[in-house]
């Protein structure tokens, strides 16, 4: 993308040169030999006008030149000379240090080892909590969550106690023109990134330093700065969710998915091998009641060849059973002249007694996106033209289809690897054109593979029961080796003055047992249910708020039901809050899972002590630091109170990092010495600014991990 800037600059220089040359040539006196009539006279006068204006502009430009140079010099003086030419950051979300260190020691990650020899390797302290949106927001801003306002994937609305996404707010349009059943919106819905403070690339941009930022989490809607950015987490799918797969099936209804997917009927169309269905797309806000926009789907099977033809929007895709298609475009018509386009990948999962067709979540199409997924707006289209269609969904790998056993390990790995390859192409497209400035690319595959395949890495994981010799038993190790290959390719492209960072935001550990905090709160007299309720309803709907003092919402936090803050709060601010926190800590610190005779919770952290900054009031009151093997249970995450406090986790999602952050640091490697014993992810933003000769602003809390002196040693492979 840097070539946009350089190309544009070169074009301007060429245009200016051409204008001056043409103007000079035209103003040179020549003998007119042709007929000169009135029309030609006007033309000559017009030409003189053009020449006059051109010369005037050239003169003004020349006169202004000293002032422009002076302004640039003043701007430059506000920073020291940059220590680097390019800062290249390759992020592998969730890369675990214990696995990385073992594979490096075994000689299986030679490029990581080489990078460590060139500069250094260290574990990287994550944030409290150690989860992607929080940690990458601290990477982005150099601040603690109290200053960037992201404390979890989820926040809760104190008016309703309902969870909501913590990072993005998509508004609705209140002003509409009603014509019969038609609704014409008179404004666009607002889309806000709720991450606060200022990204370090915005600060670089304020000093005319270019950055390309690819898929760094919590960049939706994208930042506006001098550079280019492709957004990531939490870009929704076309339905407005965080990823809803679809299954078209002839199987009878009643077998509903727990979460994440939609089931549709696949109807036989007069033959054993021809079926029809309807894809429900996004809501059509142009009509009363917001009915879904739909597209008919037709499936024709070739049972003997184990293939099928899927026809949508007049286009036909030839599918082999059990093999994911390429991206298929889906176009939904809203009203005449208005359409919405998404992309999906399809797979026939069965064609025996029953027939089923899987559709991945419908991603926003990057060529003409219906939402702002990049900055500038055309950057996503540029990448699409260069690379073809690519995943745009925030959490693009379909973990839920695997959890629900709609897809299998092989399909998940295919999908994940393909997205990883898309990302690699984006990285090298940007790297090969960046002459000066910063480039950050985050790869998600490591985190997703950790989550879904951890069950195969340890004996007796409840999610791997009955699986003796899994085909993807070494999926995690293979992913780390692939990361090593990517680093090797980047190392080959380093030049003088280039700095390379390879990093992860947190690690990963086992998720064998789930903890239902709300069940624990109820058992211990902190939470009460409404009369007659059994606690099985989701989203804490059965909680009696008039008696409840504490509740858990989100993935890592616990809130007190505080009077004046929560709509039905009963705990008084001040001493009562402190006494309650102490009571809760006394119960939660070192909480035992008696069935397994293991500590489940190491510590409940008081966020009043952890965080500083203007947004700390939005944080949960306590942060739960789970031990290895434990995490919030699936039921608790969806607000179900009923059931046991501890339960086995049998889902494929079998590894996690929403635990005590001290247990899951990230990794950090650089081709320069690391002048700090215990580097943290929060230190990297001020370090990046230091590399470009800028003094980190006062609100940043991390401290540079370099001393600000010119770098020594070989910056690239020798």
């Amino acid at each position: 993308m840097a070539q946009y800037a350089s190309t544009h600059k070169n074009r301007c220089i060429r245009s200016a040169t051409l204008i001056v040359l043409v103007a000079a040539a035209l103003s040179w006196p020549v003998t007119a030999e042709a007929y000169v009539g009135p029309g030609a006279g006007f033309a000559v006068l017009g030409s003189f006008a053009v020449i006059f204006v051109t010369m005037l502009l050239a003169g003004v430009s020349l006169l202004a030149w000293p002032f422009r140079m002076l302004w640039r010099m003043i701007r430059r003086r506000t920073r020291s000379a940059p220590l680097v030419k390019r800062l290249i950051v390759v992020g592998f979300d969730g890369q675990e240090p214990r696995i990385t260190e073992r594979l490096m020691a075994e000689g299986k990650m030679p490029h990581f080892s080489r990078l460590a020899e060139m500069g250094g390797y260290s574990r990287l302290r994550s944030t409290f909590p150690s989860i992607t949106p929080v940690a990458w927001s601290s990477f982005t801003t150099g601040t603690n969550p109290g200053k960037h306002n992201i404390f979890d994937f989820l926040d809760r609305d104190p008016r309703t106690y309902l969870p909501r996404l913590s990072s993005t707010e998509i508004g609705s349009v209140d002003r509409v023109l009603k014509i019969g059943k038609l609704r014409i919106p008179l404004a666009k819905p607002s889309i806000r990134n709720l991450r606060k403070s200022k990204p370090w690339w915005t600060i670089l941009g304020e000093h005319n330093i270019w950055s390309t930022i690819i898929r760094v989490p919590i960049t939706f809607p994208p930042d506006k700065f001098y550079g280019a950015q492709l957004g990531a987490m939490c870009i929704p799918d076309l339905l407005g969710t965080q990823g809803t797969f679809m299954l078209f099936t002839t199987r009878p209804g009643g077998e509903s998915f727990q979460e994440g997917g939609l089931r549709f009927e696949l109807n036989a169309n007069g033959s054993r091998d021809t079926f029809e269905g309807t894809i429900d797309g996004p809501e059509n806000t142009f009509f009363e009641g917001n009915p879904p926009m739909t597209v008919p789907l037709k499936l024709e099977l070739d049972r003997s060849g184990k293939r099928g033809l899927v026809t949508v929007n007049g286009e036909t895709a030839d599918l082999e059973q059990g093999v994911l298609s390429d991206w298929v475009k889906l176009t939904f018509k809203a009203i005449a002249g208005m359409k919405v386009t998404g992309i999906t990948r399809m797979m026939i999962t069965e064609m025996d007694d029953h027939v089923s067709l899987y559709l991945s979540p419908i991603n926003i199409e990057p060529e003409k996106p219906v939402m702002p997924i990049s900055h500038p707006g055309y950057y996503c289209s540029y990448l699409e033209k260069k690379l073809g269609a690519y995943a745009t969904l925030g959490l693009a790998e379909d973990t839920w289809a695997l959890n629900e056993k709609v897809t299998d390990d092989r399909t998940f790995m295919t999908q994940t690897s393909d997205i990883d390859c898309e990302r690699e192409e984006m990285l090298f497209t940007a790297l090969d054109t960046l002459r000066k400035g910063a480039l950050v690319t985050v790869f998600d595959a490591t985190d997703r593979v950790n989550h879904m395949f951890w069950r195969y890495t340890e004996d007796g994981h409840p999610a791997a029961e009955g699986v003796d010799d899994p085909e993807y038993g070494d999926a995690i190790e293979q992913q780390y080796l692939r990361n090593d290959e990517i680093v090797g390719k980047v190392l080959k492209r380093l030049g003088d003055g280039d700095v390379l960072w390879v990093m992860s935001d947190h690690g990963c550990t086992s998720f064998r047992r789930g903890v239902n905090l709300n069940a624990w709160l109820m058992d211990n007299g902190f939470l009460f249910l409404k009369e007659g309720a059994d606690g099985s309803e989701q989203w804490l709907q059965s909680v009696d708020w008039s008696r409840t003092r504490a509740y858990a919402v989100g993935l890592v936090g616990m809130f007190l039901n505080i009077e004046g803050r929560e709509s039905q709060g009963i705990v008084k601010k001040g001493a009562e809050v402190e006494v309650l926190k102490a009571e809760l800590k006394a119960g939660l610190d070192g909480l035992m899972d008696d069935e397994k005779d293991v500590v489940a919770i190491n510590e409940a952290f008081d966020t009043d002590i952890l965080y500083r900054g203007p947004y700390k009031g939005n944080a949960p009151d306590l942060l739960i630091g789970y031990n290895h093997g434990y995490r919030i249970s699936w039921d608790c995450a969806s607000g179900v109170v009923a059931g046991a406090v501890f339960e086995d986790n049998t889902k494929a999602w079998s590894g996690d990092h929403i635990v005590d952050p001290r247990l899951v640091p990230g990794v950090f490697l650089a081709n320069h010495p690391i002048d700090k014993d215990d580097p943290a992810i929060i230190d990297l933003a001020p370090t990046a600014l230091t590399f470009f000769g800028l003094t980190p602003p006062a609100h940043m809390e991390g401290r540079p991990i370099v001393d600000g002196k010119p770098l020594k040693g070989p910056p690239r492979e020798t």
Binding site: T141, T143, G146, K147, F153, L154, D157, R159, T160, L162, P163, R164, L165, I170, S172, K188, P189, S190, I191, K196, S197, K198, P221, K224, P236, D237, L239, G240, T241, Q242, G243, T244, F245, Q258, E259, G260, G261, P361, P372, L395, T399, W400, H451, W539, L555, R612, G613, P614, Y615, W634, D635, A637, S638, W653, D656, I658, P697, A698, H699
Partner: protein, 64 residues
């Protein structure tokens, strides 16, 4: 969708905001002002529709 508009504030107020924005932990006076206004608005605005909120969370891998 995006966009900014100008609002006139007393110079002395902006001076005070600028003086304290760093101390309060904001990255700029604009962020300080925005946060103050958002907090006030949150007291007045209605909560979103329950179904819409649930739908937006659907598919988040960490939840069931």
């Amino acid at each position: 969708m995006f966009g900014y508009t100008k609002v006139k504030l007393e110079t002395s107020l902006v001076d005070r905001i600028s003086k304290f924005s760093d101390i309060a932990g904001y990255s700029s006076p604009e962020e300080f002002i925005t946060h103050a206004l958002e907090k006030e608005l949150a007291q007045l605005e209605d909560a979103g529709a329950e179904e819409e909120i649930k739908k937006r969370l659907q598919g988040l891998g960490y939840m069931s």
